[in-house]
């Protein structure tokens, strides 16, 4: 099986920002509760950045990191902890869905394009050329 995976810096940055703000806020609150002063030191900031980087990377791997594996008959999509496998032949229609902000998904429909029975492969997150993959996939599903 061929495997495609790419670190999505947008999602990684998003989780880093959230955890950095949380860690700093928690530290300031605890600091104030116990000492009644807010300590501002460069080494504390450095520790917070390193801690936020570690926690956010772990969170990114558990929640957002996408791995797409495929061969001529099957493919699997792993987003965070969740992994699902599919057979190419179960799908009939393919489209490119432009979700905005540069996010593009390859949609695979099982029966009708006007029914919500589809799966989405985040091609922009995986760093795949959307139009290239749209031309390649019909060879597998037909």
């Amino acid at each position: 099986m061929k495997k495609i995976s790419k670190i999505n810096f947008s999602n990684l940055g998003k989780s880093f920002s959230i955890f950095f703000i949380l860690i700093v806020a928690l530290r300031v609150i605890l600091n104030f509760l116990f000492t009644k002063i807010i300590i501002v030191e460069w080494w504390i900031l450095a520790i917070e950045i390193i801690l936020a980087a570690i926690v956010s990377y772990m969170y990114y791997r558990l929640r957002y990191h996408t791995i797409f594996s495929y061969d001529k008959e099957n493919f699997s999509l792993e987003i965070g902890k969740e992994e699902k496998s599919y057979n190419w032949k179960d799908f009939k229609f393919i489209s490119l869905y432009y979700a905005g902000l540069g996010k593009i998904f390859l949609r695979l429909y099982r029966s009708d394009i006007y029914k919500d029975d589809y799966i989405e492969i985040p091609v922009s997150d995986l760093g795949i050329t959307p139009k290239g993959v749209r031309e390649k996939v019909p060879k597998f599903i037909s």
Partner: protein, 154 residues
């Protein structure tokens, strides 16, 4: 032709038609009955936007489904009629409010076809015949049809 398909798809999905509709999904080689469309882009009249524009769109804009079909084969009077019938049937089945039908060609369209399109008064299908050589665009007289000329660049 491949470049033209990419061009139309890029224009629509990158927001060229956002004043009329937000096109956000494209299919290639899409079949309706016996007709094969090299490109079908679909969307809706309610745009997504961000915060205020999203709120405005939610309250002020109707959420109609719309589509844009691109057809390449040499078109004749009969086949154009059948093509429109098939499109109307598909639109009714899937609750699509209006559609564009774009027919590009490297050579001149016959006078018969041009007249049929110009006289066509279907309100929910906009038809555009595009002569790629001299960039001449002929549309039907509906509002939807006339909008093709002002929205897309060929």
């Amino acid at each position: 032709m491949r470049d033209l398909i990419d061009n139309i798809e890029n224009q629509l999905t990158k927001g060229r038609g956002r004043w009329i509709a937000e096109f956000n999904e494209s299919f290639i080689n899409y079949h309706i009955g016996s007709f094969m469309f090299p490109l079908f882009v679909r969307g809706q009249t309610r745009s997504k936007g961000f915060l205020l524009s999203r709120l405005f769109a939610y309250f002020a804009l109707p959420n109609y489904l719309v589509g844009c079909f691109v057809y390449f084969d040499d078109i004749k009077k009969d086949s154009l009629g059948r093509l429109i019938k098939e499109m109307l049937r598909m639109m009714k089945k899937n609750n699509i409010k209006w559609s564009w039908l774009i027919i590009p060609k490297e050579t001149e369209f016959s006078q018969k076809i041009k007249k049929i399109v110009e006289k066509n008064d279907i309100s929910n299908i906009g038809i555009a015949l595009i002569n790629l050589k001299n960039k001449d665009i002929i549309t039907n007289n509906s509002i939807i049809g006339r909008k093709i000329k002002t929205t897309l660049r060929f």
